[in-house]
Amino acid sequence: MNRRALISRIVFSVCAALLGVAFALPLIWFVFAPFNAHADLDLALPAPPTLANFARVFANGAAVGALLNSLLQAFGTVLLVATTATLAAYALARATLRGKRVIEYVLLLFSSVVSGSAAMVPIFLIVNALGLIDTQLAVILVFAGGLLPTAMFILRDFIASIPRGYEESALVAGASPWRAFVDVVVPVLRPGVTIAAVWAFVQVWGGFLIPFVLLRSEQRMPASVEIYSFYSQAGTPIVPLLAAYSVLYSLPVIALYWYVNRKYGFRFFGGIKS
C-alpha cells in the first residue's frame, strides 16, 4: 500500500469512527445510568454497578401498572390484527373478488394519508361518539385499524407464495373454504403471521400519540405515556428509576427486532417500521 492510500485509509477510518461515536453519544448515558443507584443526568460510571434501580421499578405500583397496560394494549391489538388481517389477506390473495385491485389501492392510499396527529382529530371525535374515550378498548381498536392495511399486505404476499394446490386439494376432498383455511393455510402461514404480529406488537408497544390523545386516567396509561409524563414534568424527575424503567420498557422491542432479524433477515423491515 503506498503512502497516499494509507493516509486516505486512515482518514476514512477516523471519519467512520467519528460518525459511529456521534450516533452512539446520545445513548451512552443509558448504558450506565440504569445501573447507578445515584444516577443523575451526568455521565458517570456506576460505583458499584447495581440492580437496585430495577428493584425499585418493580416495587413501584404505577410503573408496573403502566407496563401491564402496555402489554394488554399490545396483545389485544396483535390478536385482533393477526386474526382479521389473516382472514382478509386470504380473501385478497385467493377469492374471486370484484374490485380487489381497487380495494388494495384504496387501502394503500388511505393508510399513508390518514396518519399522525391530523388523523387523531377525526379519530378522537369518532371514539368520543362511540363513548369509548379513556378506555383501553379504544386504544386497541384504533391501533388495529391503522396497522391492518400493512399487516394485510405482508400476509397477502406470504399467501401468494403458497401453492394453490394445497388448499385446492382440500377443497376437492370436500373441505369447506373455512376448513381449508384453518387446516391448510394457517399452519403454512405461521412465519408470515409471526412477522405481522411482531411488527404490530412493536408499533403498539412504542406508540405514544394514540394513547396520549385517547386516554385520560392515570391507571390506564401505557408505559410510553408514563415515561413521557415523568421526564417532562417540572422538577427533577426520579432519574435512576426512570433510567431503569426505560431500559426495561425497551427490552422487548430490541429482543423482537433481534429475533426477527436473525430468523428472517432484515429485508422484512423495509417498509415495516412506520
Binding site: C15, L19, G20, F23, A24, L25, P26, L27, I28, W29, F30, L41, D42, L80, T83, T84, L87, A88, A91, A95, T96, L97, L108, L109, S112, V113, S117, A118, A119, V121, P122, I123, F124, I126, L141, V142, G145, G146, P149, E167, E168, L171, F181, V202, G206, F208, L209, V213, S224, I227, Y231, S232, L242, S246, S250, V253, Y257, G270, K273, S274
Partner: protein, 305 residues
C-alpha cells in the same frame, strides 16, 4: 389466473368483513369525517360541542387570513418551519446521512460494519419516549453528556433545547431516522455488480467519481423512493413533541405539533380539522406520486422477468 380465485366472492367478502369494518371505521371514515368537521365550529365543551354549526369555509379563511397568517403561533410560521424541517432533517439529514453510512460501511470489515450499523439501527428501533428521554438527558444544560463533552473541548455549554430548539430537533430527527435510508441504500449498493467498481478502480477513478458516475445513476430509483418516503414520514412525525412540545415560543411548532395544539390543547376541532385536511391533502399528493412510481417499477420488473 389472477382473476379465477380459489373460492367464491361471497366467502371472500365474509373473510374481508372483520378487517374491513375496522379499517373503514378508523382509517377510511376519519378521512371523510375530518373534511366534514372542518366546515363546522365543533369544540369540546359548550354549545358548539353538542350542536356544532356549519361555518362554511371560515376555518380555512381564518388559517389563510393575511392579517394573522404570519403571526406567532399561526399557520404560516408552522408551515414554513415544517418545510425547513423536512429539507434539513429529512433530505439533508436522513437521506444524505443514510447514503454516507451505506457508502462507508461497504469499505468496513464485517465486524466494524455490523457495529456501525447496529448503533445506527438502535437509534431507529428504540421507542419514541425512550429516545426522547435519552436526548433530554443528553442535552441537559448542566450535566448532559453533550455539554460535558463540549466543556472538555473548551466550548461554552448551552441549553440547546432553549437556545437552539429548531436546530436540535433537526439533528434529532436526522439521527433518529438515518437507519432506514442506510438500509435501503445498503441493499441498493449490494445490487451493483462489483465488477463495475473494480473496473473503475483499475482506471484509477476516485471515490467521489465512482459515487457520481457509477453508483448514483444505478441506484436512482432507490434514491427517489427514499426521498418520497422520508419526506412523508418527516412531514407527519410527532416525535419532536417529546423534546420541545413545540416550544419555546413556537420555535419548533411543526405542523403535526400545531395540529395537536389547536385540536387537543385549545380544543378547536373545527380549525384543527381544517389544518388536518390540508396536511392530508399534502400526504395524498405524495402518496399518489409514490404509488405511481412504485407501479411503474413493478411493471418494469414484470417486463424484465
Amino acid at each position: 389466473m389472477r382473476n379465477s380465485g380459489t373460492f367464491s366472492s361471497r366467502i371472500g367478502v365474509a373473510f374481508m368483513t372483520p378487517a374491513g369494518v375496522l379499517v373503514t371505521l378508523f382509517v377510511v371514515f376519519p378521512f371523510f369525517w375530518i373534511i366534514a368537521v372542518s366546515f363546522t365550529n365543533r369544540s369540546l365543551l359548550g354549545a358548539s360541542a353538542l350542536h356544532p354549526q356549519l361555518v362554511g369555509l371560515k376555518n380555512y379563511l381564518d388559517l389563510f387570513d393575511p392579517a394573522t397568517f404570519w403571526s406567532q403561533g399561526g399557520f404560516g410560521p408552522s408551515l414554513w418551519l415544517t418545510v425547513q424541517f423536512v429539507v434539513f432533517s429529512a433530505l439533508c439529514g436522513q437521506v444524505l446521512l443514510g447514503l454516507v453510512l451505506a457508502w462507508i460501511s461497504r469499505e468496513l470489515s464485517p465486524r466494524a460494519k455490523s457495529l456501525l450499523q447496529g448503533i445506527v439501527m438502535l437509534a431507529w428501533i428504540l421507542p419514541d419516549v425512550v429516545v426522547g428521554f435519552a436526548w433530554f438527558a443528553y442535552l441537559d444544560r448542566d450535566a448532559g453528556t453533550l455539554n460535558q463533552l463540549l466543556r472538555g473541548l473548551h466550548v461554552p455549554a448551552a441549553d440547546f433545547l432553549i437556545e437552539h430548539p429548531f436546530l436540535t430537533i433537526c439533528v434529532f430527527n436526522a439521527w433518529r431516522g438515518a437507519a432506514f435510508s442506510m438500509m435501503l441504500f445498503d441493499a441498493a449498493l449490494q445490487s451493483i455488480p462489483p465488477s463495475y467498481l473494480e473496473t473503475a478502480d483499475v482506471v484509477g477513478a476516485s471515490g467521489w467519481q465512482k459515487l457520481r458516475d457509477i453508483v448514483l445513476p444505478l441506484i436512482r430509483g432507490h434514491i427517489v423512493t427514499d426521498l418520497i418516503l422520508i419526506t412523508m414520514w418527516t412531514f407527519n412525525v410527532f416525535t419532536p413533541f417529546l423534546l420541545t412540545a413545540g416550544g419555546p415560543s413556537f420555535e419548533t411548532d411543526i405542523l403535526p405539533i400545531y395540529t395537536y395544539r389547536i385540536a387537543f390543547k385549545s380544543f378547536e376541532f373545527g380549525k384543527g380539522a381544517a389544518i388536518g385536511v390540508i396536511v392530508m391533502l399534502i400526504n395524498l399528493a405524495f402518496s399518489l406520486v409514490y404509488l405511481r412510481l412504485a407501479q411503474r417499477g413493478l411493471r418494469k420488473k414484470g417486463k424484465a422477468a
